[in-house]
Each structure stands twice: as C-alpha cells, then as structure tokens.
C-alpha cells in the first residue's frame, strides 16, 4: 500500500474520526437528523478539511511555532466563510437546515486535530490525501447515522419512503437522545467486527500499545482497562 492510499484507508477505516477517534461529536449529534443533512455536513467539512490541510501544510515552515494555533484558526475560518457563502448561494435548502453548524466547522476538532498532528509535519500532497481520507471517514460516519435515524425516526431514507405506511416513527430517534442511541449501536457493531477480525488474525485486540495513556489511542476495544493494567510495565505484543 503506498502512502496516499494508506492515508485514505487510515482516515476512512483505521482512524475513522466518528467511530474510532470520536472527534467532532457536536455536528455528529446535532445535524444527523436525516441522511441528506448528514451527507451535506460531511461533504462540507471534507472540502474545508482538504483545503485547510493543504494550506497549512504549504505554510508549515512559515508559521512560527508559538502562534500556530491562531494561525490555523484564521486559515480554517477563511475557508469556512467562503464555503458558507457558496452554500448560501447555490444550495440554500442545505444552508438553512445546517444553520449555525456551518460556521461552527471552524472549531471542529477534526480539522484542527489534523492540522496539528498531520498537515503541519507533512507535505502538501500527502496532507491533501489525509484530508480526503478523514473527510470521507467523517462523511460516512455522519451519513450512516443519518440513514438510521431517518429510517426509524421518520420512515424514510434520503426522503424516499422505505417503511410501510402503517409504520409508526419512533420520534425520539430524530431528537437528540436518538443520536446517542444510534451512534452507540453503530460503534458496538463495529467493535464486534474489529474484535472478530483481530481474533482471526491471531492478535489479541486488547493488548495495550501505548505507554503514555489512552489519549489519542485508537484501540476502542479495551475501554481504558488495558492501560490501567499495564501501566508502568513493558508491554510485549
């Protein structure tokens, strides 16, 4: 696997921002009331993520280390403003349904996180693919949550009626608690698959590989127990 496809795989599967890193939970919970909104939010964030990753990567040698966070914010905010005007002009219906969550992309921690942990250390080409991978991973996460919430909470998917007419929508799923239910179920299902796959390979999915704590660790299967158990000890794989 070359480095560009590795970036895509990393963003979409291995370190999926929604299901593995659990970043950007605010838009994840708030706008996924329907599949269209999830897809729109995901793609909007993807575009901004790609642009800001490229810009920050290009400027990484120019930006002084001490003021890098404000500099990143200015770059991200500029792109968000441009995209916001474009959405307002060309897709006003999506602009209306996403509302306040478009300007809030500025403070989306996925974008700032990728800038800090990847784009500021790698070249423009790889940073672009990192942005595409992470953005698509986020889009897939939001859209799948939106599909389930819309299906059970409204009986439709992408505004097409799936459930029969007699189906009584479970209204709570398109309200805030429903986002938590659906996200939790999807993560549980993924962890089940990941664990089975790791067992098939003969790996112990619960082996802790980090000695510095659980922050930033992408092993969602151990739930913090392994680090507690292995703290201070040398962990062998």
């Amino acid at each position: 696997m070359n480095r560009t496809t590795e970036r895509l795989y990393n963003g979409i599967v291995k370190e999926n921002p929604t299901f593995v890193q659990m970043l950007g939970m605010c838009p994840t919970m708030a706008v996924t009331t329907s599949a269209v909104n999830g897809l729109g939010m995901g793609l909007t964030t993807t575009v901004i993520l790609i642009l800001s990753n490229m810009m920050i990567s290009a400027l990484r040698k120019v930006i002084p280390d001490k003021v890098r966070i404000p500099a990143y914010i200015v770059i991200v905010a500029s792109f968000v403003t441009i995209i916001q005007f474009l959405l307002e002009g060309f897709v006003p219906s999506l602009y209306d349904s996403l509302g306040i969550y478009i300007p809030l992309i500025v403070v989306n921690c996925i974008i700032l996180g990728r800038a800090e942990s990847y784009a500021s250390k790698n070249n423009v080409w790889l940073s672009m693919f990192d942005g595409i991978g992470m953005g698509l991973g986020f889009t897939i996460g939001l859209t799948s949550i939106g599909i389930f919430r819309e299906l059970f909470g409204n009986g439709t998917v992408f505004n097409v009626r799936i459930m029969p007419e007699q189906y009584e929508p479970v209204t709570i799923l398109i309200l805030a608690p429903g986002a938590f239910f659906v996200l939790a179920c999807l993560i549980a299902a993924q962890n089940k698959i990941r664990m089975q796959r790791a067992e098939k390979k003969g790996e112990n999915s619960l082996v802790c590989e980090r000695k510095d704590g659980c922050i930033g660790c992408t092993n969602t299967l151990c739930g913090g127990r392994e680090f507690e158990g292995t703290q201070g000890k040398e962990v062998s794989k």
């Binding site: 009584e168 479970v170 209204t171 709570i172 799923l173 239910f181």
Partner: protein
Amino acid sequence: MEQRMKISSSPHIRDKESTGSIMRQVMVALLPAAFFGIYNFGMRALLITLLTIVCSIGWEAGYQKLLGRRITLRDGSAALTGLLLAMNLPPDVPFWLPVIGSFFAIIVVKQLFGGLGQNFMNPALGARCFLLISFTGHMTSFSYDAVTTATPLAELKTGGSVDVMSMALGTIPGTIGETCAVALILGGLFLMARGIIDYRIPISYLGTFAGLILLYALAAGRGLDVSFLLAHLFGGGLMLGAFFMATDYVTSPITPAGRIWFGILLGMLTFLFRVFGASAEGVSYAIIIGNLVVPLLERITIPKAFGKEA
C-alpha cells in the same frame, strides 16, 4: 487446639427478606391499584398489563441467555418492572407498544448498564418517558367509557373544574394504575408497615409538593384552596410515583438525609413541571431527573461515623 472461633467478614446479621421476597411484596402492594385499573378500564387493561409483564420477563431471560449469564428471573425484578410500566400506560395503547416499552426498560435502561442494581434510572419510568417522547399521540390520548376525554390534571391546567371525590376513588381517565389514589395509598402504607420502603421519601416528596401547591394557590389569589391541593395530590401519577417509583432501592439515595433531600427535590421538580411546564403531568420526568442526582446527594449526606469528630 481446636479452633473455637469462626472468623468471617461482615455482614453478620441477616434479614429474612431476599430480593425476591421484597419484589413480591411490592407487587402485592400494587395489586389493589392494578385490579382497580382493570375494573375501571376493562379487559383491555388486563391484556396490556399481562403483555407488559410477559414481555419484560421475556426480554430479561432472552438477554441473559444470549450473553450466557445466569438467568435471574426468580428475583422477580423483571416482572415488577413490567407491572410498574403497565401501570404507567394508558389502557388504549396498541399492543406493540408494551413490547417496545419493556424492551427499552429491560434491555436499554437495566441490562446494558449491568443488570439489577446497576441501572441509573428507574427502568419503568425511563421506558415511560421514552414512549411518551416517541409515541406522544398514543401515550397522551385517554378515554373513559369509550369517550375520549382529558385527564383531570389537564382539565385543571386549562382552568376547568374537577371532582376531587372521583379522583380519590379513581373513576377518572388516566393510565391503568395511577387513577385510584386510595388503593395506591393503601399499598404504600402496607409497604411502609412491612419496612420495605422508607417513609422519608414519600413524606418529604408529598409534603414539599403540597406546600408549594398551597403557596402557589395563595400567590395566584385562590386563597387556601383545599380542593385544588387535593386534586393535585390525587391527580396524575403522583401517588404511584411517590410510593412505588421514587422509593426504588436502586435509584434512590441510601442515606437517611439524602432520602429527605431527594423527596424535596422531586416535590419541587414536580411542582415546577406541573404548574409552569407545557404538559399537565411531570411526575415521571421529575423522578428520572432526581435519579440522576442520587449519587451526588449520597456523597454530601454521608452520615458521621460513630466516634468521629464532627
């Protein structure tokens, strides 16, 4: 030398009661209200009640079987949750609704958090609120003698007049188990006399609520309006909530002072929801919100250990 003294860790004194016997006594205490509900609303109420209990037991057994855990149906907690949930359902709900409701109560609120003793809110009330938000139409349409009417509390909220006597006896529209205040109070007194529930929670809950309602009546220029007070006490799910829901062992404080504060909090929340809220009833939301602060109440009310400085 033969060892004379056997050493074992505490507890050294055991009560005759077990989880199962306590659950059964609570169920017995609920029976008058349940039977009155069936008498009041007819066969459909009986079917809904039985269906809810059977589904709760089924979900509990199914989940424990699926996970290969010990099946703990004998402690009766699933059956009690089912009975309590049924008492909270209107008699006219469609038959699929108790199935979903008991799934939410048993699987989501109870088993996913670790089973009996680990749930952070009352399973029956959690499920009631879930159903109330999801299927508002079914959960808030009440009929009496085949005529769709508003509950007395809703009448009261819109300024109508209510008959306090029929509210005490329970010949009013409402959910299956909440209408007959007399039967619920009898059940509550039975549990208190048997030492199953602590008097502190119901007394402080009802006392706070009654005091606030009286103050409100005075402030609103109604004067010392006793019938308004009684209508609020007997109406809705207050009696059912105060005696059977708020006293749930798992989700109420364990310290005596904490129980009093818990009751006061519930009384204040119920008052606020009923008088200033959008809907006429607020007992179930008050109790599940109260459930969430129970760990904090316990932490600030830990009694002083014997011999310790104040």
